[in-house]
Every structure is written in structure tokens, then in C-alpha cells.
């Protein structure tokens, strides 16, 4: 059995996440994203690799989308409506609710960029109808064999990691996740699962971030410095996602510093977002959930006013945390239209789309970039090919938009160093926590991924891969052999059956100086499992039975093999007793045994010596004084019977073979003292 993992997107890059995993005959597509850096066919994953004939319904068991970011869901309407996939699609409730907003926003932007439509508004609506929403931790039985489950991923509202299990093979696809809680979302949470494969994002494969607080302050300082000097701050963001977090940050800061500089919003978001977040409060962080008592944190006392303003104006950005922010927005947030781009005075502007892909943010950027006073803040990561990416790589003074247009860039660039993605430590923590048999890295940059891969392999000992796009990685999958176990075996396994034994180990360090010194250690063994016997017959299911049941099953009788040896032990008598052989009374025998026991306990470092009166027992080894001349365990002719020795008849089982011979050699080498 094997798991085949075909990476259609986000292999050694960020953008168009799409991985197709074949696992025990089931084929799952994780994410169906688009690449923001391309405008040609490269923006979509190469779906023809899934099915040459285009029969995706039979080629795929289901599609799973982890969250509503376009690089994870952007190609979905195209895949379902244009390519014709009609099978099940799973995503969380918030993702299903918010994805259409993102897609619609993107579609409109594409119009503006003049690229022509890849899919229409109807396509989006039709596509979303096919989506089956799931709750966190809800175990969904996709079909008889395939089980999937979503876990909280942090990243954005509704983001989830997905667990998939077919038969004995299991895997997790993380999507994007954040291992540290941010201002409104919790940290990723997952159970300790037994996994064959973990596919994880690796956006920050080598970055280790220190405290969030310091990073946030850096951002605020940069913004404050700029507006204090009369500059304009442009924050290009996507409609939904982390921009909300920056808004909360700025609000806090403005309040504290008593700043009056206006903050503007220009976003392609709809008024409805407010409503969505109110209904989805269960998906935010524990802290926000707890503060929710009678009033929803996304509910505002001045809600109607706010709504009016938002309808009249066009800053429809409505993702807030508490009434304080609502108040802030009422006081400070102004309408923003194109005529204000060149208005004098400082300001802060949130504009879509993020990464300055095009649209309004590009329009504003073209106007503001030539001034040194102005500031552009960019998220921690921008997809290759976007203007954002160009700004971040090096310090360009000129950017060529197209053949005819060139932008002078003199403004300051600030790169945000906090992000809703986990850092390298978080990735390592997750991989270590889940301890999968194999790991695959996607959604990152090639050289950094290679470094992380090395770390995972060397530090965690987990086989790791980072395939490029359109490559397939094949790994073996867990498979269990099924057997029926008898009740006796199960019952005997339920009862602890520890055996304690002292075993000697020779400490090598003493060997040179004082000869060997035996150190006795208590060892605990538990033979419960090895009492089980696996029986495989032709045409029958394998069966596990307890060894006691075995003979009954076969109708055989037990045959016990024992060792026995009867030999004389030297005896030193101080009292003169006529003959050793005939006068040993039972009392004497007991004395002899107890003497022997003393000798053994001095010499023997292992085993549990039991003095049973007329018999001595060490594990299965038993010794007793033998008075019979023709004891069957005596090897004839080897010993002469004399008064200076007494015979001991010993027997033992094979398990204590070594121990027995050790005892015998001790016995042979010592002398019994009798008084």
C-alpha cells in the first residue's frame, strides 16, 4: 500500500495551493487555489494531470478547501463550473460563508485588470451550492472508507487543517496555520494522531519570530513617524483576513496617542461581513468567545448608525471586535474617494487588493509612491510577480508596470514582520507533536524549504520531501494485519502480569581493578503478549489464541521438557555422624537446605531464592536432598558415595537454564558446613 501525493500547486512556491493525494484507492484534492502572480494559464493548477479525459468526478473522491484565501480557493469555481467537477466539496462553515465574498471581489478586480472573466458571478453561486459545510472536529464519513475531520488552524476565521483516513492509512493537510494566537483568532489545535503523512505549509521555513508585541510596535512607530511628518500611509490589504487585525492595532494606538489623523477605508467588502462575523463568533479566539455573554462582540449599540454610514459611504469594511472600535470608526473613519487621493495632509488608507496586484491599491500607489514622505506597508509575504514582491526584493527606484508606464518609487517601504502564518519553530513543533512517518513541505520558497527539510530529517528523524509543482511523491502507508483474538487472550492481556526478577549485569568499569563485580538490577517483564499464539490456517482468518488454549485447539497433549541433575555437594562435618546417607532426618535436611540457601544468597546476584523447608527454589530451579542411591537423575559411575558429601537432586525448566547451571557451579564449588 502506498500514498501518492501529486503537487499541482504551491510546490516550492507560494500560490495556487493544490495537492492531490491518492490514499488506499481514494483520491482527495486539498485546496484549489490560484496564483496571484500570473495572468495566463499558469494561474490555475494543471488539472489535466488528474484526469486526461476531464472526467474529474470519477478521478476524485472529494475536494477539501482549508480556508477562503484566493491562493487556496481561487480556482474552485473554474474547476467546478468550467472543468465540470460535480463531486463533493468540503469546507468549514465560515469558509463557505466568506469565500463567495472573496471570489466576487477578485472577479471584479479581474474585470478592472482587463483580463477577461475566468468565471462569472453565477459560477461562484453555483459552485458554492455544491459545498458541504463541516464543523470543527466533526467526523465526516465521505464514503464507506474515507473519513475526514477539520481542526482549528488559526490563520484566518474558519481556517482548518484537515485529517483524512482511509482504512489504516491516515494523513493531515495543514493548509495555512498559526501556532500563536493573535488578536482575534486562537492558535492551531490538533489531536495527537497516528499519521503516515503530514503535508504542511512552510511560508516561514527559516524565520523565527520573537514576541509579537515588539513587531507590532515597529509597525505602529513606522506609521506614526510617517503621519507625524505629514506623509500618507498606504496599507494594501485583501478584503478579508489580517487587515482586520491591523485596524484593531491602529485603533488602540490612535486612542492611546490621541491622534486625530484620519483613517480611510476603501475596500471591496460588502456590508454583510458584519453579520457573518456575528454569527461565526464561535470560530474566533477563546478570549472573544468568553467576553461574549449577552451581547455579541460583533454587535454594536450604535449598529444602525454605523450601518447607515457604511451604506452611504463606501468603506464597507466591517470587521470589528468590540463596541469601542465601532465608536472609533464612527469618529475617525471617513469616506474616501478618488478625488481625495491628492488631497493635502497626512492620512492612513486601507486599500484593496493586497500585494498591490492591481485595482484601487495600485491606483493610489502610483500617486503616492513618488513622494519620500509617504509610506507603504506590506505584509510579510507577497507572491512573486506582484508589485508588492518587487518592492520587497531590494530597493527599486523604478517599477515598470507595463511597456508604457513606469512608476517612480521614492516612498518608504515598511514590511510587516508579524503574520498569520506560523514560523519555523511552530512548524517544527507541529511536526514533532504529530510525529508522522513522512512529511511533505509545500507553500514556501525552495531554498528555505530545503533548510527546513534538513532540520526535520536530522532533528526529528522524519523522512521529508519538498516536491516541485506537478511532481508526485510516493510514500508507503500503514497497513494492519487483521486477526481475531480469543476472549481468553484479551482477558489475560487486560490483567497486568508483571514478573519481577533480579538480573545481574557486569559493570565493565570494575573489571580491571577488582575483578568483576556483579550488580543486581530489578527488571520487570510482562509476558502477556507473548502468551498469545497467532494461528493461520488455509482459507481461515488469522486467529490469536492464548497458549493455554492452543493444545485444546489442536487436540494435543502438552509435553514438558525438564532438566534434572543429581550430584553430590561437599560437606564439612564437625560432629561425627555415622553415615550421611541413612541418618539424615528431616530436620537435618532442612538445615542443609537453609545452609545452601545462605551460600546461594551470598554468591548469586539474580533470582529469587526461596527456602521451602525441605526444598530450595530459585525461579523454576528446585533442589532437594537426595537419599536414594538409585535416583534416576544420577549419572551412574561418576560419583562415589562418601560421608563427606551429600546428594542434591535438582531439576529446572528450560527458561532458567543459565541460572540453573550457575547455581550448580556454585554448589559444586562450595562446602556445606554442618554443626
Amino acid at each position: 500500500m502506498a500514498i501518492d501525493c501529486l503537487v499541482l500547486g504551491a510546490g516550492q512556491e507560494v500560490g495556487k495551493s493544490c495537492v492531490v493525494v491518492s490514499i488506499n484507492g481514494k483520491r482527495i484534492m486539498f485546496d484549489c487555489g490560484m496564483h496571484m502572480g500570473y495572468t495566463d494559464s499558469r494561474r490555475y493548477p494543471d488539472f489535466s494531470l488528474i484526469s486526461k479525459t476531464g472526467d474529474f468526478d470519477n478521478a476524485l473522491t472529494c475536494v477539501i478547501v482549508t480556508h477562503f484565501h484566493l491562493d487556496h480557493i481561487g480556482a474552485l469555481p473554474y474547476f467546478t463550473e468550467v472543468c465540470g467537477y460535480k463531486g463533493p466539496i468540503y469546507m468549514t462553515y465560515p469558509t463557505k460563508a466568506l469565500a463567495p465574498l472573496m471570489l466576487e471581489d477578485y472577479r471584479k478586480n479581474m474585470d478592472r485588470r482587463g483580463e477577461g472573466e475566468q468565471f462569472t458571478a453565477e459560477h461562484i453561486a453555483e459552485c458554492m451550492k455544491k459545498v458541504i459545510p463541516v464543523d470543527l472536529k466533526q467526523t465526516v464519513q465521505v464514503d464507506k472508507d474515507l473519513q475526514i475531520r477539520a481542526y482549528y488552524a488559526g490563520h484566518v476565521i474558519g481556517a482548518a487543517m484537515f485529517y483524512a483516513k482511509v482504512g489504516d492509512a491516515a494523513m493531515v493537510y495543514t493548509g495555512d496555520y498559526n501556532m500563536t494566537p493573535d488578536r482575534h483568532l486562537g492558535a492551531a489545535q490538533i489531536d495527537r494522531l497516528q499519521l503516515d503523512l503530514l503535508i504542511t505549509e512552510s511560508t516561514y521555513a527559516t524565520t523565527i519570530r520573537d514576541s509579537r508585541y515588539g513587531r507590532e510596535r515597529e509597525f505602529l512607530k513606522a506609521v506614526h513617524n510617517c503621519v507625524a511628518a505629514g506623509g500618507k500611509v498606504l496599507i494594501p490589504t485583501f478584503a478579508l483576513g489580517r487587515a482586520q487585525e491591523l485596524c484593531i492595532l491602529l485603533e488602540d494606538y490612535w486612542e492611546r496617542m490621541n491622534l486625530k489623523i484620519p483613517i480611510y477605508f476603501s475596500a471591496g467588502l460588502t456590508i454583510q461581513a458584519n453579520m457573518y462575523y456575528k454569527m461565526l463568533i464561535n470560530w474566533t479566539s477563546q478570549k472573544i468567545k468568553e467576553t461574549y455573554a449577552t451581547r455579541n462582540a460583533f454587535d454594536f449599540k450604535n449598529g444602525t448608525n454605523l450601518a447607515e454610514i457604511m451604506i452611504n459611504g463606501f468603506h464597507q469594511f466591517t470587521y470589528f471586535l468590540d463596541p469601542a472600535i465601532a465608536k472609533f470608526l464612527l469618529l475617525r473613519i471617513r469616506n474616501f474617494d478618488r478625488s481625495m487621493i491628492n488631497a493635502p495632509g497626512p492620512c492612513v488608507l486601507f486599500a484593496t487588493p493586497g500585494m498591490i496586484v492591481g485595482g484601487f491599491s495600485l491606483e493610489v500607489f502610483m500617486q503616492w509612491a513618488p513622494s519620500e514622505n509617504n509610506l507603504v506597508t506590506l505584509p510579510g509575504y507577497c507572491v512573486a510577480g506582484t508589485i508588492g514582491h518587487k518592492l520587497m526584493s531590494g530597493k527599486p527606484t523604478k517599477i515598470d508596470l507595463d511597456k508604457d508606464t513606469q512608476i517612480d518609487v521614492r516612498c518608504q517601504i515598511h514590511q510587516l514582520s508579524f503574520s498569520p502564518h506560523t514560523d519555523a519553530k511552530g512548524i517544527m513543533d507541529l511536526v514533532k507533536f504529530l510525529s508522522p512517518k513522512h512529511a511533505i513541505l509545500v507553500h514556501g520558497e525552495k531554498p528555505k524549504m530545503a533548510t527546513l527539510k534538513e532540520r526535520i530529517q536530522s532533528e526529528l528523524g522524519i523522512q521529508c520531501y519538498c516536491p516541485a509543482n506537478n511532481e508526485t511523491v510516493t510514500i508507503p502507508s500503514t497497513h494492519y494485519v487483521k486477526a481475531d483474538a480469543s476472549d481468553t487472550f484479551i482477558r489475560s492481556c487486560l490483567n497486568p502480569n508483571f514478573k519481577f526478577s533480579t538480573c545481574s549485569s557486569v559493570d565493565k568499569s570494575y573489571l580491571d581493578s577488582n575483578g568483576s563485580k556483579a550488580i543486581s538490577r530489578l527488571s520487570v517483564s510482562d509476558d502477556r503478549v507473548s502468551e498469545g499464539i497467532l494461528v493461520v490456517g488455509k482459507g481461515k482468518k488469522a486467529k490469536v489464541i492464548h497458549q493455554d488454549e492452543l493444545l485444546n485447539t489442536f487436540g494435543e497433549k502438552k509435553h514438558e521438557i525438564q532438566f534434572a541433575y543429581c550430584f553430590p555437594m561437599h560437606m564439612n562435618r564437625t560432629e561425627n555422624i555415622p553415615s550421611a546417607s541413612d541418618l539424615l532426618c528431616s530436620l537435618d535436611r532442612c538445615t542443609l537446605i537453609s545452609r545452601l540457601s545462605t551460600i546461594l544468597s551470598n554468591e548469586l546476584s539474580e533470582g529469587n531464592i526461596l527456602d521451602l523447608g525441605e526444598q530450595l527454589q530459585v525461579e523454576s530451579f528446585r533442589a532437594s536432598v537426595c537419599l536414594s542411591d538409585n535416583c534416576p537423575h544420577r549419572l551412574s559411575g561418576s560419583f562415589q558415595n562418601n560421608s563427606e558429601s551429600v546428594f542434591f537432586c535438582c531439576c529446572w525448566a528450560v527458561a532458567d537454564e543459565k541460572l540453573a547451571w550457575k547455581i550448580i557451579s556454585i554448589m559444586k564449588g562450595s562446602t556445606l558446613q554442618t554443626t
Binding site: Y93, L136, N282, V481, K538, E560, Q562, L635
Partner: protein
């Protein structure tokens, strides 16, 4: 497996309660309160005349009164106690391992259980049920406080009404509620828990998401699937290594508000516990009319090969018109309420079914909106605000068309908008200042409690009971005669309406056909109402009777890791191949797994050995000679069969030794460890062993 029905309950507000013993774990199913028995108490503001002392004369007078019809003075005038499940106190709470709660109603008795000293069970409740249940308990506590203030601090340990002499003089109707049919239920009465107890109880509750798997002790996998009865209510599957159980509480296939009955999630279980007694309440009257259902036979034929048929049945279960009927019922109620307010009378709705209230709110306000009538709707409850707010943030537990509202960005229920528009007003209590300043009549009031003994309804009912224009809407199932006793004479119109609170019996057949359980536990009471052919094993249960259900699986399945299996040393026998097991047996997610363990190397030699058969002496000699050991058969006890029989082998070289072979065992006598172990090896080869 053992199953005991502790109580078959009574209606929507008092679900059945069972004790299940599966895989060695004791599971309590539901922990409700019988709030209908509150009827024996007098609601506070009624009959304010001083409670006369019980002299012998009045006792005698009251004894004679038994024959007369009940009146308000017969009710117990004391701080009410609450009746728990009558047989539950016979069980030691410390022996319960797991508690499963399917609905908020099934949760009301839980603080009594968590209060008991050695209680340590894991309680599983769905997230939504836990929240709604908590609010219901808090509401109950706050309503009770009002009564407590009236009666003052009394002797909480043993109230006067529970003394035998007082119980004796109770009218038979009330006595039956207080003591039960056989006077055995007095022990079930408890003084109410406190708000702190509720909080403590909630801390012990483990909440589950929709269809989330919970694994108890590594052995039992427990999953909730929606039952459609109310928001957050569920049915359970419990799977252990030897048993898969589906527990079906009262379920509604297509709900008007909650997530539909997810019966497909219950497939693949070999035992089904049917615990939907709702048809018992609704068909009680029909028994007399002799209208029996067509005896549909249920045969567990192999429908599995006929997948289409199965899907058809499943579809037919869902397509039915129950929810439409329910909506028509609601529409009717709304028109009645509308007519009443049009005539200037107010409407009082003491219905405590969240879903019904939410739907009624929407329907009535739609109706009012379409007319020009401006009538306010009041909701009076200490938890109304929280409850209504909560219903709007759990799209995961609502029916499909409500979920669609989430996806199109509309509020899940219309009450959000109506509250904002000032059409619905929420007040925590009757005496709140906002209510007094806003009050306007006629109006429509929703308030607890349906027993008409607690909460704001008592005050309002007393206020309106003489107004013939006003309307009281009650749930059927409430004994209206007894419930309205303290408010008589009543001029007010009373409308009693039954709501769907479970599946109809006609649907049991197709449901069984879809789920195909091998064993079925079915209530005895429903036996005459339905005929299920005995093709599959049916156990009929009745209250307080323990059923022992035989194990269906002979053996337990065990998973052996492939890497371990490949390392096992196999020994071929005549028919089978056998091997001794190795590794570690773990219990994970209800499955026995054998994984390669970390055993120390030296323990290998300590292996247990088992031999059988009897050694062939000649063969043994051959094996020995291969090892360079020579010897002869010295003595054969059975001359006729020298090959297989017992004997003694005399070893002469390299050293002297003896092998004493007998029928049941062999003894190796040697003076040298090396020789002894060689001989052992030779015997091991000749014999069968492991």
C-alpha cells in the same frame, strides 16, 4: 451487555432515562427532571389566605374531601421540591463511568448527580445542548428563588408536606404524583440545586461538536448525531471493540428549525436502542378507537445489495410532510393569537420549547406586519436575552434553510431584526422597570414556565384569567385541569396544542430497514402499536427491568502492525502455521493494536516454551548424532511400538547423559550445560512446540 430502563419519562419535557452496561462500562443515558410533578404545589401569589394549621378537625375534613373535586386549597403550599428519575437513586453514582445527555431537557437533573460525593463519570453533551441546558437550569434556579423568598428559609432537610400524615391527606390525584403508583417514589424528591451547583456541574461537562468523536478510556468511541428534536439535541453511537450501539432518543426527521435527524450517521451499528416514547403520548387516545396501524413486517432481508431501494427509503423518510403539518399548526396558533389581540385581548404563551418559540415569533410578527395592528411582543425570562443571542451563533446546529441564511449573510432567525426594530421586547422579570414603562395592552407574552407554577406566567395568568378576550396557549401533555386549578374560575380562553416531539410509528419500519440493526431494543409499551417481525432479534424492555443482551461477536478483532508481522518467526504445522506473538498490545480508538514494542534483548531467552506430542526416539537419536552426540535406547517400556513410546536414551559420547522420555514429558539428565542444551535442541526439533 446489560440494559435497564430507569424511566420511560413523560413527554417532551421529561425524556426517558436508561442505564447501559457496555464493554464493562456503565453508561447513564439522560438525567432529566419530572417538572410536571410541580403541579402538586401551589403557585405563590394564588390563595394568599393564611395557611391554616393542621388541627385534627381540619385533617378529618380534608380526609372527607378526597371524594370531592380538587380545588386550589388542596395544593401543597410549601417551597417546591423537584422530582428526579425515580429509580436513579437506587444506583450508586460513583459506579457510573459515562453520562450521555441528548437534550437540554435531559440535563436538568444533572447537578443532583454531580453533587453526589463520589461521582466521577465523564459527561458528554453537545455544545449547543450544554449551553441551552445551562440557561434552562439557571432560569429554573432564578424562578425558584422567587418562591423561596416568599416562603422564607425553611427546614430544607425535611419539609412538612413530606411527612406521612400530611401526605396521607393529599387528594388521591396529587398523592399519585407525590408518591407514585406504589408509593415508592417519595425518595425521588429533591430540594433544588443552587446556581453554584449549576456552575460546578457545567465544569464537569465535556462538550462535543457536531459528530465529534470522543474516545472514552481508549475503548469506547462516542459520537453525537443530530436528532432533529431541538437545537443541539442528538442521538448517540457508542462503539467498543465488541459492540456497536446506536441510541435513538426522540427524533424528528425534518425539523422546522434544528438540524434534521441524521439517521444515516447511525448506520453500521449492530444494536439499536429505540427510546422514542413520543408516540405513546400521541396515540394514547387512539387506543380506544381500535385504529391500529397496518402491521408492517420488518424483515432484515439483504437490502444492502439493493442500494437504490435503500436510498429511496431514506429519501422517503426525509420527504414527509411532518414539518409542513407543524408549520400549519404554528400558522393556526398565530391566527388565533392574532384574532385575540384584534379583539383587544392579550395572548399568553407559556411554552418552553425553544424552536417553537422562535418559529412562533417569526410567524406572529409576519402576521402583525401584514396587518396594520401594532401589538408588542414581550419575552419575559431571566435568560431570554442570552438564549436568543445564542440561537444566532450556532448555524452548525440549524436546519438547511437556516444555514442558507448564514451563507447569504442574513441573520439565522428573524428575532434579531425584530428586537432591533423594537417589535420584540426582552425583559428579565415581570417587575423590571423597563417592562413597567413599556407595558402596553393588548400584547403577546412569551414566558416560562409551562408547569404554570413558576416564573412570570403565574403573575400574568392571575392578571388575565378573568378576561374572556385573552388567550392562553398551552402545550398538550400538560394536565390542564390540574395546571389551571389555582387560577380558577377561568374566563380566559385556553388553547391546547400538541407539537411534534418525536417520530411517528409509521416511520419506525423504514428506519429499521435503512439502519439494519441485528439486535433491537424496543419499548414494551409500544408493542401493541407496531408489529415488528421477529426476523431479527428484538428485546422488549420495560421500566426497571434489566435485560442481558448476548454478545454478537465471537471474538475481538486485533490489528497487527505489518512491520511486526513481518518479523514474526513462523512455525509450520500439519495444517496451520503458528507463531508466538511479540510486541505491545495497545488499545487505541476502540481498537486492539499490536505494535512492535521496545523489549530488552535479553528477555528473548526467557521465552516461554510450550511443547506437545511425543518424541520419536529414533528421530531423536538421528538428530543427536548430527550434533555429534551418540547414544543408545536403553530401555523401552512398550516393546510393541518402539518408535513412539517412552524410553530412556543413554548418551555415551562425548559425555555421559540420560534422556528420560515419557508420554507427558522428557527429563534431560546431564552434568554439563553445553551437552544439556544440545540435547534440548535436538528434542525441540523432534517435538512440536512453540
Amino acid at each position: 451487555m446489560k440494559f435497564t430502563c430507569l424511566s420511560k419519562g413523560g413527554g417532551f419535557h421529561f425524556p426517558p432515562c436508561h442505564m447501559l452496561n457496555v464493554c464493562g462500562f456503565r453508561i447513564l443515558l439522560e438525567c432529566p427532571l419530572d417538572l410536571s410533578s410541580l403541579a402538586i404545589f401551589s403557585p405563590v401569589p394564588v390563595g394568599l389566605e393564611v395557611h391554616e394549621p393542621l388541627d385534627s378537625e381540619s385533617v378529618a375534613r380534608k380526609k372527607q374531601k378526597i371524594e370531592k373535586t380538587l380545588d386550589a386549597n388542596d395544593l401543597v403550599r410549601a417551597e417546591p421540591w423537584y422530582k428526579t428519575v425515580k429509580n436513579l437513586h437506587l444506583w450508586d453514582p460513583s459506579f457510573i463511568d459515562v453520562v450521555l445527555i441528548s437534550s437540554p431537557m435531559g440535563m436538568l437533573g444533572l447537578p443532583f448527580l454531580t453533587l453526589s460525593k463520589d461521582f466521577s463519570a465523564k459527561i458528554y453533551v453537545t455544545e449547543a445542548t450544554a449551553r441551552i441546558g445551562q440557561l434552562m437550569m439557571e432560569d429554573l434556579v432564578s424562578m425558584h428563588m422567587e418562591l423561596k423568598q416568599f416562603y422564607g428559609p425553611g427546614d430544607a432537610s425535611f419539609p412538612r408536606w413530606m411527612k406521612w400524615e400530611d401526605l396521607e391527606i393529599l387528594p388521591s390525584e396529587l398523592k399519585k404524583i407525590a408518591l407514585g403508583k406504589y408509593c415508592e417514589e417519595l425518595g425521588a424528591w429533591m430540594p433544588l440545586y443552587s446556581a453554584v451547583d449549576v456552575k460546578d456541574c457545567m465544569k464537569k461537562v465535556q462538550t462535543l461538536k457536531y459528530a465529534e468523536e470522543a474516545c472514552y478510556n481508549g475503548t469506547l468511541i462516542i459520537r453525537p448525531f443530530s436528532s432533529g428534536l431541538e437545537i443541539g439535541t442528538c442521538n448517540w453511537t457508542i462503539s467498543g471493540p465488541k459492540r456497536n450501539v446506536a441510541y435513538i432518543s426522540s427524533s424528528i426527521f425534518v425539523s422546522t428549525h434544528a438540524m434534521d435527524f441524521d439517521f444515516l450517521g447511525l448506520r453500521g451499528n449492530d444494536l439499536m436502542i429505540y427510546s422514542d416514547f413520543s408516540s405513546l403520548d400521541t396515540t394514547e387516545n387512539m387506543e380506544n378507537d381500535d385504529t391500529c396501524f397496518d402491521p408492517v413486517t420488518y424483515t432484515s432481508s439483504n437490502v444492502s445489495d439493493d442500494v437504490n431501494n435503500l436510498e429511496e427509503i431514506a429519501a422517503s423518510l426525509l420527504k414527509d410532510d411532518e414539518s409542513r403539518e407543524e408549520m400549519e399548526k404554528l400558522a393556526f396558533l398565530c391566527t388565533c393569537a392574532f384574532d385575540s389581540v384584534k379583539a383587544g385581548g392579550s395572548v399568553l404563551v407559556p411554552i418552553d420549547r425553544l424552536g417553537i418559540v422562535l418559529c412562533l415569533l417569526e410567524e406572529i410578527s409576519l402576521l402583525l406586519e401584514s396587518s396594520s395592528l401594532k401589538v408588542p411582543i414581550y419575552i419575559i425570562s431571566s435568560v431570554a436575552e442570552e438564549l436568543l443571542a445564542f440561537t444566532n451563533i450556532i448555524p452548525e446546529w440549524l436546519c438547511k434553510h437556516r444555514q442558507e441564511k448564514l451563507f447569504s449573510g442574513e441573520p439565522l432567525f428573524a428575532h434579531v431584526k425584530l428586537i432591533k426594530e423594537g417589535k420584540i421586547h426582552l425583559f428579565p422579570a415581570v417587575h423590571s422597570i423597563e417592562l413597567l414603562t413599556n407595558w402596553q395592552e393588548p400584547c403577546i407574552v412569551f414566558c416560562p414556565h409551562w408547569s404554570l407554577r413558576l416564573g412570570p406566567v403565574v403573575h400574568l395568568l392571575r392578571y388575565w384569567c378573568l378576561d374572556p378576550n385573552s388567550l392562553l396557549i398551552l402545550e398538550s401533555g400538560v394536565d390542564a385541569n390540574l395546571a389551571l386549578l389555582p387560577f380558577k374560575p377561568m374566563e380566559m380562553k385556553v388553547l391546547q396544542c400538541s407539537f411534534l416531539s418525536g417520530m411517528s410509528l409509521q416511520k419506525v419500519q423504514p428506519l429499521l430497514k435503512t439502519l439494519q440493526p441485528k439486535l433491537l431494543l424496543f419499548p414494551k409499551e409500544l408493542r401493541c402499536k407496531i408489529q415488528i417481525s421477529e426476523a431479527n432479534t428484538i428485546f422488549r424492555y420495560s421500566e426497571n427491568e434489566t435485560l442481558r443482551i448476548p454478545t454478537s461477536k465471537e471474538s475481538t478483532e486485533i490489528d497487527i502492525a505489518t512491520d511486526l508481522a513481518s518479523k514474526l518467526r513462523w512455525k509450520p504445522l500439519k495444517k496451520e502455521t503458528i507463531t508466538r506473538l511479540d510486541g505491545e498490545l495497545v488499545m487505541d480508538q476502540g481498537k486492539h493494536r499490536l505494535l512492535s514494542g521496545f523489549r530488552p534483548a535479553d528477555s528473548k531467552q526467557q521465552r516461554l516454551l510450550l511443547h506437545w506430542g511425543s518424541p520419536d526416539l529414533k528421530g531423536l537419536l538421528t538428530e543427536l548424532s548430527k550434533m555429534g552426540i551418540t547414544g543408545t535406547v536403553k530401555k523401552v517400556s512398550d516393546e510393541a511400538e518402539p518408535e513412539n513410546a517412552a524410553g530412556i536414551i543413554d548418551i555415551v559420547g562425548p559425555e555421559k547423559a540420560l534422556i528420560d522420555v515419557r508420554e507427558t514429558g522428557t527429563v534431560i539428565i546431564a552434568a554439563n550445560d553445553n551437552l544439556a542444551s544440545h540435547i534440548f535442541k535436538a528434542i525441540d526439533i523432534v517435538l512440536d512446540g512453540i
